[in-house]
């Protein structure tokens, strides 16, 4: 209703305090005549109520450990960083495993696993084409010249897959013989490249054939390699 004279519909008694509360003031305006009745009249569309979640029948007695959410699961999929002292052709001293103490020639780092591809060469010290973990090697400063060397394309991580559990391979004599022959062939190809370079240095072959050992009085922490 338009105000008559000085009359105010909802008088302000004190600053911020009006005479009539919210609902009283609304009813006074007469707008209630135009409000639509029922649920259809609601001006603000309410969110449709979600169906109440079904409670599980079973709770574990104690909190189960939850895996920590990784911020970026693909972040750490890199291979181990190759040490600066290890280059193709470097002579490495293997520290653990069947060939511990052997001096082997480093060929390249494999892309899938990050392990180092090495070879004795086989005819020099009995170490075949093999993978070795960087952490279990001492890199010497001796290098074999392998510039421009190319290795068979089969030399990757799949080449070194174990065959003990491979049902098609191990029990099958023919397949096994073929697998072995393949291995020998790859070994020959790799060693042919290596032996040429090794022959250039006078005592390198004897050096690779000898095992590294520590005797009394040796101080490996003071040794230079």
């Amino acid at each position: 209703m338009p105000g008559k004279g000085n009359r105010v519909r909802n008088e302000e008694l004190r600053p911020g305090i009006r005479a009539m509360g919210r609902s009283e003031a609304l009813n006074k305006t007469g707008r209630y005549r135009f409000f639509k009745k029922g649920a259809a009249g609601k001006k603000v569309a309410g969110k449709p109520e979600a169906a109440p979640a079904k409670e599980p029948k079973f709770y574990p007695a104690e909190d189960l450990p939850q895996p920590i959410k990784q911020r970026n699961p693909n972040a750490s999929k890199k291979i181990a960083k190759l040490r600066k002292s290890i280059e193709p052709g470097t002579v490495l001293i293997v520290l653990a495993g069947r060939f511990r103490g052997k001096r082997v020639v480093f060929l390249k780092q494999l892309e899938g696993s990050g392990l180092l591809l090495v070879s004795g060469p086989f005819e020099v010290n009995g170490v075949p084409v093999r993978r070795v973990n960087q952490a279990y090697c001492i890199a010497t400063s001796t290098k074999v010249d392998l510039s421009g060397a190319q290795y068979p394309s089969e030399l990757n991580d799949e080449f070194f897959a174990r065959i003990e559990n491979d049902e098609k391979l191990k029990p099958n004599a023919e397949a096994y013989a073929a697998w072995l022959a393949k291995r020998k062939e790859v070994q020959k190809k790799v060693d042919a490249v290596l032996m040429k370079s090794i022959a250039k240095e006078p005592l390198l072959k004897e050096y690779l054939a000898a095992r590294f050992k520590i005797s009394r009085g040796d101080a490996p922490h003071l040794m230079k390699f």
Partner: protein, 144 residues
Amino acid sequence: NIEKTNLLKMGFKRFVQVGRVVYINYGPENGKLAVVLDIIDNNRVLVEGPTTGVERQQMPLKRVNLTDYVLPIQRGFRTGNLTKAINDFDLEGKFNSSSWGQRLSNRQLRAGLTDYQRFELMLLRKQKSYLLKRAVAKAKKAAK
């Protein structure tokens, strides 16, 4: 000097004196040569080695080995004169060609050998031993 002749009679040959070249065998200046410039007290000397990187400082005599060399310098010589005296004396040349100096450089050489060099060294020692033993056996046989 009566005391000195007595000491000499007792067998002492190297004395702590101004100009004595010393080899420092302990502490931050380990392995360096220096020259005694002054004597502070019973246990300490003033020392400097401009050509070997030893700053002018006091040095306890416990850290020091006396060498055979004595430079003709005056007490408290300053760095410039000291350097000149050292170069005129050719201290580096004399020391490095002495057996003491040779021993030191051999030690350093051995410490810096690579694995391959150690292998070569091992083969050489075996060869030497073989030749020696052969020569000794031959000599023994000839003596009989």
